[in-house]
Symmetry: C2
Subunit: 375 residues, 2 copies
């Protein structure tokens, strides 16, 4: 089964420039010396990217710490060994032992892969963690990636994202027709149904493409990352809510055979480090986004714009159509993944409505609180 889906040709670094393929070929194989194991982790992120990039670095470092150096992980930025969106392929082909990216980057090869990162109008981060760990999600994810020789772990979550940046206002569906927008995954497929021309750009390309107006807008993540990319310098129109990615899971993919060959405690260490990082990265986005948003609004004059009800209804119907098509057009594993996800969603909707939703609405009723808010 292994390697049946990926072509070696697709693995060479694209935007990252020349030499990456040669580097990949000459990089030494992991060596066993004094029971020390060295692994390579390829990532989809530019060097030093806050949140996503620092999460990958922290995860690698933690594995080394927990194992007292018996298993060390060297991290490569997107493009250093392979192109940013090809992490799973690299693991599948033995060019790296680990990859750190979004599962939605693999929809082209594995159509249901995106259900393990984000689905428009799908599960919230808490609901998603519930499905993965206690709703059958992990077992289905394992089965899906088993076909390419990989073992996946959840390793972070961005939280509910922002709807994105637009060069010009969008008030209704007619305003979307013919616009060019950078958005990956099923969310991009949904916008296509509403007449948007979509592309999937890496974070490093967004600023330039917005600046020269070769795209009309882009969604990336949220204030913490978008601030560092400087997108506010080009447009002030920042839309919410981010229906297209309501809490996007990060994955750490591991070479399945090499993972199975580890001693038991090192397998547990890899799993625990990913689970700890899932918690910590989510906390980082939750902890740092409010301050970054305040900086965007108060220092850079960014305007928060809420998508209109008509637009949200249209997004909802388009997302529904996309999910339905993945379900109906898919093979057996795809259908089982989508069915399990939808079953969890339907049940979780009621619970989240009276807890998370009910609580947030109550907190906003308008009484004064000692933080000075009229919350």
């Amino acid at each position: 089964m292994r390697r049946r889906r990926f072509l070696t040709g697709a693995l060479t670094a694209g935007a990252a420039g020349a030499g990456a393929a040669a580097i990949a070929g000459s990089y030494p194989r992991p060596a066993l010396a004094q029971s020390r194991i060295e692994w390579r982790m390829v990532t989809a992120w530019p060097k030093g990217l806050p949140g996503l990039g620092s999460s990958a670095e922290r995860l690698a470092e933690r594995i080394g710490q927990l194992s007292a150096g018996r298993l060390t992980v060297k991290v490569f930025a997107g493009g250093e060994l392979v192109s940013p969106l090809q992490g799973l392929a690299a693991v599948s082909q033995g060019m790296a032992e680990m990859a750190h990216d979004f599962a939605l980057y693999h929809i082209g090869q594995l159509p249901a892969a995106g259900f393990f990162s984000a689905v428009p109008f799908g599960l919230t981060p808490a609901e998603f963690n519930g499905w993965i760990n206690f709703g059958g999600g992990q077992e289905l994810w394992d089965e899906l990636y088993d076909s390419v020789g990989a073992k996946p772990f959840l390793a972070g979550n961005t939280g509910v994202q922002m709807g994105g940046w637009f060069l010009d206002e969008v008030n209704d569906v007619a305003d979307l027709k013919g616009r060019r927008f950078s958005i990956p995954g099923y969310g991009g497929d949904a916008l296509k149904k509403l007449g948007v021309e979509t592309v999937t750009l890496s974070s490093g390309e967004l600023f330039g493409r917005l600046q020269d107006r070769s795209i009309d807008g882009a969604e990336w993540i949220g204030p913490y990352n978008d601030l560092s990319l400087g997108l506010y310098k080009i447009t002030k129109l920042y839309y919410w809510p981010g229906f297209q990615e309501p809490g996007t899971g990060l994955e750490c993919v591991v070479d399945k055979a090499k993972f199975a060959a580890l001693p038991d405690d090192l397998r547990q260490i890899v799993a625990a480090a990913c689970q700890a990082e899932n918690d910590l990265t989510s906390a980082e986005y939750s902890g740092r986004s409010p301050g970054a948003l305040a900086t965007l609004v108060n220092e850079h004059g960014v305007k928060l714009k809420k998508f209109s009800r008509d637009l949200l209804m249209a997004f909802g119907s388009a997302a529904s159509d996309v999910v339905g098509e993945v379900l109906e057009g898919g093979d057996d594993i795809t259908r089982r993944i989508v069915t399990s996800y939808l079953r969890h969603r339907k049940s979780a909707l009621v619970w989240s409505r009276i807890t998370d939703g009910g609580y947030l609405a109550a907190r906003d009723l308008g009484f004064r609180f000692p933080d000075g808010s009229t919350s």
Copy 2:
């Protein structure tokens, strides 16, 4: 500083019955044999309690696995070594190396301790994780518990809780006067301001006290736990939202000196195991609550009742008063904790409103989805 706050007399098991003090006295001290360390973890939970109890067991087991048995942890149910609510005191006095409970149980000794579990109308679980990890919360928590010789870790979250069970309907503030309700922490202090007589009962006492009507109602956690306690057999009135505990953190408290004496990798293992468990326990409550709620409603005829707007406004004002009093009446560390928490809350309010709140409202607009919901 150590031991200055706790009296030995308070540590003997209360409701758990006779013999616990004697057991505590005769239990062998941790032994070092072949570099193996054995620690004791006291908990606030009855043996086998789903969610909270199984989380403590899982955490202890994970520490053993990650360390390949170099550090093993033996778990004691509430009352086996010390009474359920005295975990921090037990660690402070060297009777156990770890305790697993809610920080709000320690408000009597450390008035700001509850800010490290739940504050009525306070932070959501995601906001709370953000404050602890990236908003200065952990450093303040470390400082607070340093005064009793302990090091705290976040080790789980129940998610937004339910408002609780009432024997008779409550529609406005007048209905609350003279009612007896089991509720701990600042939430209990808030209800007192509205004329409620409050008590803090352990989970094992709730059924009997509701059954003989010596209390008129109780909040515990949510469907997953409340189902196992069988509270639906006594009353069908189940209120939401749970303003009193909008996502309650579980803590794992460790003897600070013994933690500092561990080798570096074992310290990292304890910390990572707690962080992984913080993620997994939250996922367990998120994953299992929807099904438990459906069982309560569909099989046991439980009625979901929303607190009226008037009640929620009254709860909000009372909670505000309680938080203000803790802030103004507290010593230096109390004031710094409450101030930091409130600063984070004010900033996070805006972010959660447009992401979590905005997304949940959009998902509920009424379009059809392939899961059959008109979401």
